[in-house]
Symmetry: C2
Subunit: 347 residues, 2 copies
């Protein structure tokens, strides 16, 4: 036996730590069964992998916990369901673990999954099944399920000229957090950091950014609410406002303008992290992903729902993205000397 535990012990540890709504048939047979009352299943799959989506030990010294990985996998995946205007109803998770991961890590992972479901308000989301196996790196794939409760899905292709573009959730917080985590601290500070014992010179807002990266809080529930209020188009900002707004522009065949002053309105909590590490506020706000905020296109004649703030507008014209009067690329280059258009794992 390698790794210090059997497959059965691993599965028992996971099942002991999971709490969720009950599916029609849960883990234990060849497959699980989920109720899909309205006859349509909304579904999405996402993988997070060590050294791609997180580091085990960050240059800051923080050690990613099983809790962080479980939370982030769930949060990121629920966000895709939210962005369709759907309510999360279930998930299955496949866990690949290297041999130096122990059962404490696994118990912490299960707790992170459970608390993400509870704290993000996904009370109807059932853990339907899973898979475990070996790999040379930690990798977690979650498939999520959602219900439209009889409504129509909200696609990214529905934005119309004249629409108001708005965001629900934070912008730039997770990007600031990853830059802080990647920032090497004085050697005395770097060993075995915990979220509860971050360095004394990290203020509350620096801590918030780190927590925003490790344990993002997509606004679950705001997606179905926006759908009910007639939002025309929606997607989640997993790759950053610039890149995802451009996706909406292309899918909807419209031109999208982003306000050039969002750093002022959205960047308030980011100033201290920026001072700490010399980070670029405009890049965090415009190009940072992983906050899993919602981007929606609303009819200009309607009031925006609670918690949404306007970030731009939609006009007719060839699919394009502009920030103020400039192309996004020119604007980003002028701000920083380089055009940073968001996250592509293959570039």
């Amino acid at each position: 036996m390698s790794g210090g535990f059997t497959e059965n012990e691993l599965i028992e540890t996971l099942l002991a730590g999971y709490r969720s709504a009950a599916p029609l048939l849960g883990p234990g047979d060849d497959a699980g069964i989920l109720a899909v009352p309205d006859g349509r299943l909304v579904t999405s799959i996402d993988t997070i992998t060590e050294d791609q989506d997180f580091r085990r030990v960050w240059p800051s010294g923080y050690r990613t916990t099983g809790y962080d990985v479980g939370w982030k996998s769930v949060a990121q995946n629920l966000s895709d369901i939210n962005a369709m205007g759907a309510r999360p109803t279930g998930l299955v998770t496949s866990l690949s673990l290297p041999e130096d991961i122990d059962l404490d890590w696994v118990a912490s992972f299960a707790q992170g999954v459970t608390e993400a479901l509870e704290q993000l308000g996904a009370h109807d989301c059932a853990i339907v099944g899973g898979d475990v196996g070996r790999g040379s790196e930690i990798s977690v794939t979650t498939t999520t399920f959602g219900s439209l409760d009889g409504g129509d899905p909200v696609l990214r292709s529905g934005a119309r000229p004249g629409d108001v573009l708005a965001v629900c959730g934070t912008l730039g917080l997770a990007a600031a957090g990853v830059d802080v985590l990647e920032h090497a601290l004085p050697e005395s500070e770097v060993s075995e950091l915990r979220l509860g014992e971050l360095p004394r010179d990290w203020s509350e807002s620096v801590r918030s950014a780190v927590v925003g990266q490790l344990r993002p809080k997509p606004p679950i529930g705001s997606g179905p609410e926006a759908r009910a209020l007639g939002v025309h188009a929606m997607l989640d900002l997993s790759d950053g406002l610039v890149r995802d707004a451009e996706r909406m522009a292309k899918a909807s065949e419209v031109s999208v303008q982003l306000d050039p002053d969002l750093v002022g309105s959205q960047g308030a909590g980011l100033e201290q992290p920026a001072r700490l590490i010399g980070g670029e506020l405009h890049r965090w706000v415009y190009a940072g992903g992983e906050d899993f905020a919602l981007l929606g296109a609303f009819d200009a004649s309607a009031d925006l729902p609670m918690r949404w703030v306007q970030v731009g507008s939609v006009t007719a014209g060839d699919p394009s993205l502009n920030i103020g009067e400039e192309t996004a690329g020119d604007w980003l280059t002028r701000q920083s000397g380089q055009a940073s258009g968001g996250w592509d794992p293959f570039c």
Copy 2:
């Protein structure tokens, strides 16, 4: 840019190679949508990972293709749906790729997925969505969906004393194949083997075993058929007859007896691979997994469905597994000098 392509090029290559039934909403938005007419979704998730479930280059010289990986991921996952007595209706796939994988490999992967769906008879199975990302090893996670078409799921816990235990599919073929692939050949033979150009001294049955390992053919469709005919309990043999029959015994709280002469009835096609590499026929047949055959418990008074063969029987008593008159462990030890109870990736 690393790896020679962008995320968009990777996704376009996959979508160009996929053919499947059409979902309500396919890949391209935050999530896809699948029709679930009877209001219950059967779902399962499985990951296959380089060096755990396959080698890129085997000691025999065979190089695993994208086609092989795509085929196996789909076949293994459809099998879980089949084993519930359900009909596969959809899947989502997440692909983690190292930097030395090129777009030809990706195109081959998509072709393997497509041809597995077609050749396994999963004509109603829609590709609903997916995810792509980087990893240090090739890893593919597929989540499959199925429909019970109004029927009851077949659990592993329904076996009753007096039942006949039967198998639909091959036993030991994939295990023989992996041992052949792990068998070092003379150096002149080992470079760039293809399925179409296996060594001249490999007979048709050796070739069949290799193909059985790389591109298994679970009997999709026989699961729902057995359900319709009233099978009491069913699971798929992914970890070998001994281990999986024991799971049925435990879940059903019955004693299970396997016939001790299955090598005679099931091992005919395995004799040439065994001669080539000195393989152990009884281990392949009784403990080999990955054929994804179905194991079912049928009422003794009913005729077995077509393609099913009896492999044992069910009696009352403490949950246990025996082969003939002996415990499975004793029997396996007597055959080979070691008890080999099937596959546990953590042991």
